[in-house]
Structures are given as structure tokens and as C-alpha cells.
């Protein structure tokens, strides 16, 4: 699937296109399919997202998994500071993104 990610303009937080808006959680990401470029242009112009781009991902039983390690780390947080990730309670989470 093709999903969209960027950062929130004001807070800088990593966000993912969920079909209606921007979510903090990669598992909410929706398949943007053919519309990727149009959504990017529209959302960036409206300043609802900063520096958006489209990436490949797959939906697994555990959620949405971006194809590249860089975006998987973006989706979780720094692997060296599990306490600062989006899943501080899940010790496996870091291993799963690598």
C-alpha cells in the first residue's frame, strides 16, 4: 500500500494520513493509492502537514509496517530511548521496527 507521512507544522510531530486527517499513529495510516500526490499538494497548501511524502508500506496483523526502517523508526520513536517512543510499555516494539 501507499501511505502518506509528514510532520505537523506547529509541533513537528510525525503524522500519518488516515483518510480524513493526520494521525500520530502509523497504524491509522490509510492507503492513499492513486491520490497520493493530490492529497499531498492539498494538505501541504492548507498547512495541515509539513514536508509530506508518500512511502510504501504493508498492512500486517500487527498494524501498518512501512517498507523502510527509517519510516518505521519515525513511526515509533528513537530505538535508543524506548521511554520516549509511542510504545514505552512495550519492550518488543523497538526490536520490531529494526
Amino acid at each position: 500500500m501507499k501511505i502518506l507521512t509528514g510532520n505537523d507544522l506547529k509541533t513537528g510531530a510525525v503524522t500519518w494520513w488516515n483518510g480524513n486527517g493526520w494521525s500520530l499513529f502509523v497504524d491509522d495510516a490509510a492507503d492513499a493509492g492513486e491520490d497520493a500526490e493530490a492529497i499531498i499538494a492539498r494538505e501541504e497548501a492548507a498547512r495541515r502537514v509539513n514536508a509530506p511524502y508518500a512511502i510504501d508500506a504493508e498492512r500486517t496483523e500487527k498494524g501498518v509496517r512501512p517498507a523502510h526502517i527509517k519510516d518505521r523508526i519515525r513511526g515509533l520513536g528513537p530505538t535508543v530511548r524506548p521511554d520516549l517512543t509511542l510504545k514505552p510499555e512495550d519492550p518488543q516494539a523497538v526490536r520490531e521496527v529494526i
Binding site: 510532520n7 507544522l9 506547529k10 509541533t11 513537528g12 510531530a13 510525525v14 501541504e44 498547512r47 509539513n50 514536508a51 517498507a67 523502510h68 526502517i69 527509517k70 523508526i73 519515525r74 520513536g77 528513537p78 530505538t79 535508543v80 530511548r81 520516549l84 529494526i98
Partner: protein
């Protein structure tokens, strides 16, 4: 240390308001990201992997206790209670909101700090020797010259849109502790045969994709021509540096493509022209700046002995202190490299402790080292034990300066949007390995440097052992380099061969260390042995 007068303060205050306005225009949509990006970068604000990142300038690495406290305050108030000290003697915060940026700069301005010159294609924060003003081997304190260059290069109207970023380092001793020849311009303050102070200019060094060691293009520039000569170097670069390819835009490529001789000829011609323009500051300004860097009131009767009865303390003294020009004193290095820790990270509480130690024991001064550690430059030997005890209690007493555990690591793929691989976990695993097997204590000086991409923020080219993280079809892979040095014997490391996995690179470093341990002769450091025996024995052991 230097203190702002009303003019310096007014400039920084104006910059805060300018950037507040620019941020507001971006949030309101009057500026596109393309237009805003160079403006925010010139205020140290990056968009990184997880959020905005703010890099704060620490000119020539020097901080007062009050400034260090303010850095801790920013970590608490606007970030996640920590900061990361960088290989350019700066600090960066990883979790910054754009809407807070103006307020953070305002807090910094209250303690004479800012984020100017920490990014963008301008002249960057000037770096220097972290033992400046304390080391016994310097001909002068290099920082007044760095400060003069700081002022000249701040808001420079001609050089704010250079082909690429531009880094100066200034040293003033034959021992190079600032990787001077790996900068765009390296300046060595020295004395000529007549005993006058002047500056040798080394131009066109750098790491990154195409590492180069800067050639000396002028042996002696008189102090009353320092700025004019710098301006000539920059103007030739601004006009003729390549702009067609980001990776060939640094001055080292220009100097390399023209040849040092032709580049020098052009600089000298521009210099002759600029001398007629009268752009040099009055020497009285240098004299004014120097007054801020005079020796503190040392206790001339301070005892020159250290009580070494505590063996752990004695190890720390041997490894983490540096000789001082004043009898009875040393410079003490605070390691930000605990075993298994994140190189260069310090919590807000640790920053406050370092501020307190600077105030109580080091004439209210501390320094950031490009190796991502902190120096207390002027500590009485009699106070060392008390300092060490407080450091130990805060996890800051690791005795590993320039040892295998004192690893430089860039933020890598855990934080940086340019990175191809993670650096920090590799550093953590290596320091843990050498602590667990006990070999760390037998290796002596071994400078290990890790970069998570070819841009080389982790100085891998200049490590006795260097590691470069690469992206191999979406999997992290690590190349091993041997034989680099950032010191006065500058050399660039060579790649051993095929890269290694994350686990494999830790084994590979241990293998290289074992070759050294087996082959070393009396007093040789890892680097000396490598230079004597060459790459082959290492390759043999690594790839057999």
C-alpha cells in the same frame, strides 16, 4: 570569558524578534516551507526524524555556569529533559515545537546565547581548542581570535548564501585538539621568527563524502589582517565554489579542483584589493576582546599534589585530567560516555550539576569538547577529589577520556533524517563489550568514531577506528575504517573491506583491537601500531 556589551545584546535581541516574526509568517502561510527552510536553518531549527530539532551555538565551546543552567532550563521547559552535545561543540534539542522557537531564543538571549550560525550555508559557529587558556603548550589563548571571527561572521551580508556551510576552527598550539586541518578554514595562531603573533591559514579541509586534509595556503597573516584575509578566502569561494552539485559545493572541492596554488593566487589578488577597502577591525578591538580572556585569579599557592589513595579516583585522574599551565591546577574532563550510554547526551539535572561544579571549582567556566564531553578547565588539584565524588554520584565520572569507550557517535538513524543507519546502538554495544571483557582498560588511547551516513558528523574518517553506517537494501550495514587521526598528525582512515552487520561490527572492532594487542611494541598506541604494520594483518584477522 567573553561578555556581551549593549551592541552584541541588541543584535541578538533583534534576531529573536526577526525569527519570531518569520515563524509567525510560516504558521500563517505567508512563507512556504521552501522559503522558510533557509531562514529557520540560519536559526538552528531543523526538521528531523521525529520533530523539529534546535541546535544552539556555543561559541568556541565556552560556557558559564549560568549559561549551562539556562541550557538545562530549556531542556526542562521545551524539550524532554535532556540535550545532546555535538561534535561542533554545540548542543541540540530533539523535540522542539515551531511555536516555541521564538520563546526559546528569547530565553537564550537572556544569557547571551543564540542559535545563529548553527545551520544553513553560512559561516558556522567557530570552534576552538577546549583547553584554550589552560593548556601549557599554547602560544596564546586562541579564543579572542575566534570571538573576533564570530562577530565578523555574524549576519555577514555577503556570505550568508554560500555554496555550502562553512566551518572555521582556531587553535594556538602545535598540538591540535580541534581537528583544525579538517575544517573549511583552520587557523593556527603562532609566532613568527620575530616573535610576533600571527595566523597560519589552512584552507579546504573537511570530512563528508570527499574527505580532505587542508593545505596551508599562508604561513603567516599578521593579526591586523586576519579578517581581511578571511574575507578574501570567503569571497573567492562564494564566487567560484560549485553550486551545481551539493556534494561538490564545499570549499575543499574548489581548492582541490583549482589546486591549492591557484586558489591561493586568487585569494592573494582579492586580499590585495580588500586591503584597500579598510575592512579590518581596529587592533584596539582585539585588545578589548582579549581582556575578557585574561587568566582568572589562580591560587598561586595551590598544592601541587593529589591524594591518590582511592584507586578509582586515581584511575580517573590519570585518564580524565589534562596538565594546566598553572601549578596546582588541572583541566578535568567530564565524560558523557558512560558504559552503554548515549554519547553526548546529558540530562537537565546533569547539566545543572556541571554548572554548579563550574561555578564552585572552575572559575565559572566549562567547555564542550568536540568529542562530546565537557571540560572544567581550571580545577585546583586539591579540589579534584570532591569534584570526582560529585561526578561519580551523578553518573558522570566514567574514566575513559580518549579510550575505546569514549566514542564519538552522531545521532544517526535514531534521530537524524539524513542518516542511513543507527550510530548510537553500535556505540553502546561496543562500550559494553569492552567494559565486560576487560580489554578496554588495556588498550590505552584508541579514538573510535561512528557516523550514520557519509556526511561524517561522527568524524569516522578521523578515528583511529572509524565506523560508517550505510543502507544496504534497507538493512543497516557498517563499514570499518582504520588509521584516521584528527590531531596534528592528521590522516584519513582507510576502509578495511566489506561491511558488517550490527552485531558483526562489534566483533570486528574487537578483532582489530586484538590484532593491536598482539602486535604492539613498547608504548605504541593503536594508531602507531597500525601505521607501522599497515592494513594487512588487520584484514587477515577480519576476513581471513
Amino acid at each position: 570569558m567573553y561578555q556581551y556589551d549593549q551592541y552584541d545584546q541588541a543584535m541578538v535581541d533583534a534576531r529573536v524578534e526577526e525569527f519570531r516574526d518569520q515563524c509567525q509568517r510560516r504558521i500563517e502561510g505567508k512563507l512556504t516551507e521552501d522559503q522558510f527552510k533557509p531562514l529557520r536553518l540560519m536559526n538552528g531549527l531543523y526538521l528531523q526524524l521525529h520533530a523539529y530539532m534546535l541546535r544552539v551555538a556555543i561559541p568556541y565551546g565556552t560556557l558559564s555556569g549560568r549559561q549551562m543552567r539556562a541550557l538545562a532550563g530549556i531542556a526542562d521547559k521545551f524539550d524532554r529533559k535532556y540535550g545532546h552535545f555535538t561534535t561542533r561543540q554545540n548542543i541540540q534539542y530533539n523535540w522542539i515545537k515551531l511555536e516555541d522557537a521564538g520563546d526559546i531564543l528569547a530565553d537564550l538571549a537572556k544569557v547571551e546565547m543564540h542559535a545563529i550560525q548553527t545551520s544553513g550555508n553560512c559561516i558556522r559557529n567557530i570552534s576552538s581548542d577546549h583547553f584554550a587558556g589552560a593548556a601549557a603548550d599554547e602560544v596564546a589563548d586562541p579564543r579572542p581570535y575566534a570571538e573576533l571571527l564570530r562577530q565578523w561572521s555574524s549576519f555577514h551580508p555577503e556570505f550568508s548564501y554560500l555554496p555550502r556551510k562553512f566551518k572555521f576552527a582556531v587553535i594556538a598550539s602545535e598540538t591540535d585538539r580541534a581537528a583544525m586541518r579538517l575544517h573549511d578554514i583552520g587557523i593556527q595562531i603562532l609566532k613568527n621568527d620575530a616573535g610576533e603573533l600571527g595566523a597560519a591559514f589552512y584552507v579546504g579541509g573537511g570530512m563528508g563524502r570527499t574527505p580532505m586534509i587542508a593545505p596551508c595556503i599562508r604561513q603567516f597573516v599578521p593579526l591586523d589582517q586576519l579578517i581581511t584575509y578571511s574575507e578574501a578566502c570567503l569571497r573567492v569561494y562564494n564566487r567560484y565554489g560549485r553550486r551545481d552539485n551539493k556534494y561538490k559545493a564545499r570549499i575543499k572541492i574548489l581548492v582541490h579542483e583549482l589546486g591549492a596554488e591557484e586558489y591561493t593566487r586568487q585569494v592573494e589578488a582579492e586580499f590585495a584589493h580588500l586591503l584597500e577597502q579598510g575592512i579590518e577591525p581596529p587592533l584596539a578591538e582585539l585588545a578589548r576582546i582579549r581582556t575578557y580572556f585574561e587568566d582568572p585569579a589562580f591560587d598561586v599557592g595551590a598544592a601541587d599534589e593529589i591524594d591518590r589513595s582511592d584507586p578509582d579516583f586515581a584511575v580517573w585522574v590519570d585518564r580524565n585530567t589534562h596538565p594546566h599551565k598553572q601549578a596546582g591546577y588541572v583541566s578535568a574532563v567530564i565524560s558523557l560516555k558512560p558504559v552503554g550510554g548515549i554519547p553526548g547526551d546529558a540530562t537537565a539535572d546533569q547539566m545543572r550539576l556541571m554548572a554548579e561544579l563550574a561555578e564552585d571549582y572552575s572559575f565559572d567556566e566549562c567547555r564542550v569538547i568536540h568529542t562530546q564531553n565537557i571540560v572544567l578547565p581550571h580545577v585546583r588539584k586539591a579540589d579534584l577529589f570532591a569534584v570526582w565524588q560529585k561526578l561519580e554520584a551523578a553518573g558522570l565520572g566514567t574514566p575513559n577520556l580518549d579510550q575505546v569507550g569514549d566514542i564519538i557517535a552522531c545521532p544517526g538513524l535514531d534521530y537524524c533524517s539524513l542518516a542511513n543507519a543507527r550510530s548510537i546502538p553500535v556505540a553502546q554495544r561496543i562500550s559494553e563489550r569492552f567494559a565486560a571483557n576487560g580489554k578496554g582498560d588495556t588498550l590505552g588511547e584508541l579514538k573510535l568514531k561512528i557516523s550514520g551516513c557519509i556526511n561524517a558528523c561522527g568524524h569516522h574518517h578521523a578515528g583511529h577506528i572509524g565506523i560508517l553506517g550505510v543502507d544496504k537494501k534497507g538493512v543497516e550495514n557498517y563499514q570499518l575504517l582504520l588509521g584516521g587521526s584528527e590531531a596534528e598528525d592528521t590522516s584519513l582512515g582507510k576502509i578495511t573491506g566489506p561491511g558488517f552487520s550490527e552485531e558483526g561490527i562489534v566483533d570486528a572492532v574487537e578483532t582489530a583491537a586484538d590484532v593491536y594487542l598482539a602486535q604492539r611494541q613498547d608504548g605504541e598506541r593503536f594508531l602507531d601500531t597500525y601505521r607501522r604494520i599497515g592494513m594487512e594483518p588487520f584484514k587477515e584477522a577480519l576476513y581471513g
